[in-house]
Amino acid sequence: MVEAVLCVVRRDLLLAWRRRSDIATALLFFIIVASLFPLGIGFEPNLLRAIAPGVIWVAALLSSMLSLSRLFAADHADGTLEQMLLGASPLGVIAAAKAAAHWIVSGLPLALIAPLIALQYDLPAALTPVLALSLLLGTPVLSLIGAIGAALTLGVRGGGILLSLLVLPLYVPVLILGAGSVEMASAGMGGDGQLLLLAALLVASCAFAPWAIASALRISME
């Protein structure tokens, strides 16, 4: 079973690497969206500092969602998804591996690059680790929940937009806790509580989402 997980993760990373321009596009999208806000509302430093956590988190949400529609679509089109359904290991395990690979490709880079964006927004240096940590804990939840939506909308008319309609409302708690942890820390109250809650969300979605993704895939593949 561990072998199957490693096999799927390695496969998806290899595929992503051979199409690395796609990863770069999602990352660039994140940076551009985050850079647009100062252009839209001005560069008053206090204002920027106040909105930074929210803006960075919303940009992360959108960027992680953009790559979701590709998560199963290509495997569906070329038939490899059917082979995964007929594999020797439970589908939930495969689903978790797919979500993990999606996170490594689309979530992890966001957490790594967010400190740079934080500089643009003049976020105090003490808050940067909190921001990065909140993204590290929160983006896997986005990948796991998003994969449910991606599996449900597989091969459906207007799948991409529909996917965002399904998934974004479910992202609300992650957004609130993620951005909130940074705001709490900046108010001097410490964001630990929110980070712990994010971690709890991560654990809960690791436990339940793979099952839901697997059922969604079975439903969509009939």
Binding site: R18, D78, G79, E82, L86, A88, S89
Partner: protein
């Protein structure tokens, strides 16, 4: 080995077949024939458990496949319409990955050589026929898997590759495996039995 009883399948509000009952024993080669849209692919998908029949059930060695789950999928090879190879990987990588997912450890190169597919060129650069061969190479390394379910294995193959597939199927049946396959043309493997679907 495999028994289907009272299968009924409706797609898009149209009944494709009903009360379909048959069984497949070791060493049998069952060809499913029928016109386009008569439900050949749906039947194969039901037999491998991807599709739930509206009525009836499929049993593997006496147990319904719905309860066996991975215990059953370990015992089958299903090659569907789509070749199930990734364009960005080489045939060797494709074969190794699909076998690992199926729980087999194999020598990919031998299988690919049997079908005459180059091992280390990205699939993107191969022709349609070579892609099919890269997919069918899975059969050359699946001797130990008892049941093969093949959807149109001869499509887009030249006579030489078709003969190789024939030989693979015949050898599998000879060693006690079972093969269920669909074709719409009369050519192709000597089937020990034909099941005709009337739309």
């Amino acid at each position: 080995m495999l028994e289907a009883s009272g299968l009924q399948c409706a797609r898009q509000g149209r009944t494709l077949f009903r009360s379909l009952t048959f069984s497949v024993a070791a060493g049998e080669r069952l060809r499913i024939a029928g016109a386009n849209g008569s439900g050949k692919t749906s039947l194969l998908r039901i037999l491998c458990g991807l599709l739930a029949p509206n009525e009836g059930e499929v049993r593997w060695k006496g147990a319904p496949i719905g309860t066996l789950k991975e215990e059953y999928t370990k015992e089958i090879v299903y090659l569907g319409h789509a070749p199930a190879v990734k364009d960005d990987l080489t045939p060797a990588e494709n074969l190794e990955i699909s076998c690992k997912l199926a729980g087999l450890t194999v020598k990919a190169d031998a299988g690919l050589a049997r079908l005459g597919v180059p091992a280390d060129v990205p699939v993107r650069k191969l022709s349609q026929g070579q892609r099919r061969r890269a997919a069918l190479a899975r059969l050359a390394v699946s001797e130990s898997v008892p049941l093969w379910l093949l959807d149109e294995p001869y499509a887009a193959l030249d006579t030489q590759a078709a003969a190789t597939v024939d030989a693979l199927i015949a050898a599998h049946a000879a060693r006690g495996g079972a093969v269920i396959f669909t074709t719409h043309q009369e050519t192709g493997a000597g089937a020990s039995r034909v099941l005709e679907l009337h739309g």
